[in-house]
């Protein structure tokens, strides 16, 4: 592939504003997405367990596979678009950093692992539930961190 590089747009006022706006939107999306998953799947281990496997004491049924798959399907779509946007801006602004490559791999890797672990937890065993929780929180935290780094760079330019 041969990427087309136009002149440095980093100091373009309009582009800077647009990047700040989109990153702030993604930042708010990330926070709300975590809250939404808290409501849908659970805020603590006990409620996540009840959602996935049901609870005989409270007569709760396990979540339907259709609903869970729909959640995973939508999550994958939203995750890739938010991460793709963040990563593109980050690469553009921090082109000289050496740690970029690993950060991107961890970010996209945990982003894809989270929904996969959620399905695995539903079908196989409980340890995947913990794996889902860790990867879900990790990719959200990394994405928030990336957003803050980008905003800092854009504001201090």
């Amino acid at each position: 592939m041969k990427f087309l590089i136009s002149k440095d747009l980093g100091y373009n006022k309009l582009l800077s504003f647009l990047m700040i706006a989109v990153v702030m939107s993604i930042l708010m999306y990330l926070v709300l997405d975590a809250v939404l998953h808290g409501y849908v799947i659970g805020f603590d281990l006990h409620s996540i367990d009840s959602t996935l496997y049901g609870n005989t004491e409270t007569f709760e049924e396990p979540v339907l596979i259709d609903s869970l798959l729909m959640q995973v399907h939508i999550d994958l779509f939203m995750t890739i678009f938010s991460l793709l946007t963040l990563a593109s801006i980050y690469i553009r602004l921090y082109k000289k950093e050496k740690a970029n490559r690993w950060l991107l791999h961890v970010l996209f890797g945990t982003g894809i692992a989270a929904p996969t672990f959620l399905l695995a937890a539903y079908f196989f065993s409980k340890p995947f539930m913990y794996a889902w929780l860790v990867t879900f929180l990790l990719w959200h935290l990394l994405a928030v961190m990336l957003s803050v780094i980008i905003l800092k760079k854009l504001y201090t330019k």
């Binding site: 592939m1 041969k2 994958l76 995750t79 890739i80 082109k95 970029n100 996209f108």
Partner: protein, 147 residues
């Protein structure tokens, strides 16, 4: 390493994410056609072919609306990477992209034909779905090969 090389990482992950999105999408479709109560996928596919589940216009719009936007955007984002490809001609990429858009539209709207009684069987839905997935995988493969 030039910094533009880093763009390969998000693009490569995009391809994997899309394969998973396609996989879960097909799974959800088959579940809606009774996969969970059937013995196997083959039986469900036959059921879709000969007697697809009845759906209302509301059911159709509920599914079609987000998919029109999501599939259109996904094809656009993936196909635009072919602009930078040095391995495939833009003419070929254009043909694949246009075909993919058309097949996606047919696939989304196929259920309308069943709802309004123009066709009884769901083979057109299955055929368009299979063609859509194959074309999308071809496009993903082209992008992967160009990376």
């Amino acid at each position: 390493m030039k910094f533009t090389e880093l763009y390969r990482i998000p693009i490569a992950y995009l391809l994997v994410y899309i394969v998973l999105i396609l996989g879960t999408g097909i799974w959800i479709f088959l579940l809606s056609q009774g996969l969970d109560t059937e013995e196997n996928i083959g039986a469900t596919l036959q059921k879709v072919g000969f007697a697809p589940i009845e759906k209302s216009v509301y059911n159709f719009v509920e599914v079609a609306a987000p998919h029109m936007f999501a599939i259109g955007t996904l094809i656009f984002v993936v196909a635009h990477f072919m602009l930078f490809s040095t391995r495939f001609s833009q003419k070929f990429s254009l043909k694949i992209s246009v075909s993919l858009f058309i097949v996606a539209l047919i696939n989304i709207c196929a259920y309308l034909l069943i709802i309004f009684g123009f066709v009884v069987s769901g083979w057109i839905k299955l055929l368009s779905l299979a063609l859509f997935v194959l074309l999308f995988l071809l496009l993903l493969g082209m992008v992967a090969f160009s990376l």
